[in-house]
């Protein structure tokens, strides 16, 4: 077993090489970043259009929605930047190139995911941070040290939830012919997380809280900062949910890896 420190060192070495390689394609980096920038702003545009017609959404103002959305953008960035290779898992499995990941004395999930460091995701992270700062200034939020610590803890948990949902969905390709629809569904679900969970009725709110907990990606933790007075105690479980879900994901991944028999070619 290698230590975490060793893995971190290794990770920086791998990504430094990767980034050097990618920088050969500077135009691609710029165009992709512009694409990411636009896609980050699209939902914001939708909020803006909706708020042209109504003053609030289930009691939440435009600026509060911007905060929730900014939190969401930051929370999904680690998935985009560090786990983007999950999208290619189905190709590697179908074409048999997945076999190579068995042949190194490294943790397989680490080795596999380290192969891509998605640079365009940095744009998303940057947009998220700028929006978060902007919204908190507009809303006059009071950032005490404890709140800032809470922000980091909840963001970490939210990022784990998001990573888990996408990686579990991509693992479907170990068992089915094409996991794209499963991934597509997971991806689509992600888009609903910046909406106030209070607009949903019983069954959906339950599902988005306990079954596919996208509520924990953004809405529930944001409440902690926007309206601390009426936050439900559920939110204090968010690290448990994040870590628990990631552990489950890792278990599914290991199952998949052990059941994979290659393509025979």
């Amino acid at each position: 077993m290698r230590s975490i420190g060793e893995y971190l060192r290794l990770y920086f070495m791998i990504e430094a090489q990767y980034i050097k390689g990618r920088m050969q394609y500077r135009a691609d980096f710029i165009i992709s970043s512009i694409g990411m920038f636009f896609s980050s702003l699209a939902t914001l545009g939708i909020f803006w259009v909706i708020f042209e017609s109504v003053p609030d959404l289930a009691g939440w103002s435009l600026m509060e929605m911007v905060f929730i959305y900014a939190f969401y953008m930051i929370a999904i960035s680690p998935m985009q930047i560090l786990f983007d290779h999950a999208w290619q898992l189905r190709f590697h499995i179908q074409q048999g190139t997945f076999l190579k990941y068995y042949f190194r004395p490294l943790n397989m999930m680490f080795y596999y995911m380290s192969e891509i460091f998605d640079l365009k995701g940095l744009t998303q992270l940057a947009v998220g941070i700028v929006l978060l700062v902007y919204a908190s200034l507009q809303l006059n939020l009071d950032w005490t040290l404890i709140r800032i610590a809470l922000l980091f803890i909840t963001l970490f948990s939210a990022a784990l939830v998001q990573i888990s949902i996408v990686v579990i969905a991509s693992c479907a390709s170990f068992w089915v012919l094409d996991s794209y629809p499963v991934l597509g569904l997971a991806w689509k679900l992600r888009e609903f997380s910046p909406y106030p969970m209070t607009i949903f009725d019983g069954a959906f709110r339950f599902a988005f809280t306990f079954i596919i907990p996208i509520g924990f990606v953004s809405f529930y933790p944001s409440q902690l900062f926007l309206r601390p007075q009426d936050v439900s105690s559920l939110i204090y479980f968010s690290p448990v949910i994040g870590i628990g879900l990631f552990a489950l994901t890792y278990w599914v991944w290991t199952k998949g890896v052990n059941s994979y028999t290659g393509t025979g070619s």
Binding site: V54, D178, V182, I199
Partner: protein, 263 residues
């Protein structure tokens, strides 16, 4: 012509192989419809009509929008880019077929499959689960034709972006920008009525509204006169012609820069 029909049949059959995926796409649509339902319910909490549309009309627009969204997404840009990068495109170029028509018929095949497997189930769900009531009127007669034109507009925009792959390797960025522009400015997510007046005027001059807004208007407010529907259809036809010519010219020019290394 028979050859192209065979291509269409082929791509239809390929889609059938992936039928497992349809379950997930339909499931995704059910969830999307429900989320949209709750979202618009809460937007309509304070008033019965917003921008001249009732909740029912808006929900038909958005719900049907999601049903035909899957129909009109051709993924041609991604497929073409893959074929250019891998060099697989060479095998089409040496065949006695027209590449543009070949691609069109191939995506028409998967459109038929999506129509049967996704759009029709979604429609049934809209009627029976969400109890959406459709209004009758001349718009419904013209709707299928308008939908077909919308498909052509969507196809030629995707095809155009796909052809950019001859010049640039970074189709991810280009396709993403295109996708956002199309989904936001076509009315696929929010009816164009909700946009500020000035922006609406600009959007009506662009080709994107011909993809979702036009057919969706014909089905949500079919009880209007032909004087409204016919010009809308002509605008769609206008864009099909313009985009068809533009992609032809662009293809003839782009094919010259194609270099395929090795085999």
């Amino acid at each position: 012509m028979r050859g192209y029909l065979a291509v269409m049949r082929g791509s239809f059959m390929v889609s059938v192989v992936y039928r497992f995926g349809f379950l997930f796409t339909i499931l995704g649509n059910i969830i999307y419809l429900s989320v949209a339902f709750f979202l618009w319910k809460s937007i309509y909490r304070s008033s019965d009509t917003i921008r001249g549309l009732t909740f029912n009309e808006t929900f038909i627009y958005v719900g049907l929008g999601s049903a035909i969204f899957i129909l009109l997404k051709t993924y041609v840009d991604w497929i073409l880019n893959f074929e250019i990068r891998e060099g697989a495109i060479a095998s089409y170029l040496i065949k006695p077929i027209d590449f543009g028509l070949y691609t069109l018929f191939a995506s028409f095949g998967s459109l038929l499959m999506n129509l049967a497997a996704i759009t029709i189930p979604t429609l049934i769900m809209l009627i029976f689960v969400f109890k959406v009531e459709f209004v009758l009127g001349p718009g419904l007669i013209i709707f299928p034709l308008s939908l077909f034109m919308a498909f052509l507009v969507s196809f030629y925009i995707d095809y155009f972006v796909g052809l950019l792959g001859f010049h640039s390797e970074s189709v991810w960025g280009l396709s993403t920008v295109k996708e956002i522009i199309v989904t936001v400015f076509s009315g696929a997510l929010i009816p164009l009525h909700f946009f500020p007046e000035a922006l609406q005027k600009v959007l009506l001059w662009l080709p994107f509204q011909a993809i979702y807004h036009t057919p969706l208007m014909m089905i949500t407010r079919p009880d209007q006169s032909w004087n409204i529907f016919l010009p809308m259809l002509f605008v769609q036809i206008f864009w099909v012609v313009i985009l068809f010519i533009a992609t032809r010219l662009f293809y003839n020019q782009a094919i010259k820069v194609l270099r395929i290394s090795g085999g």
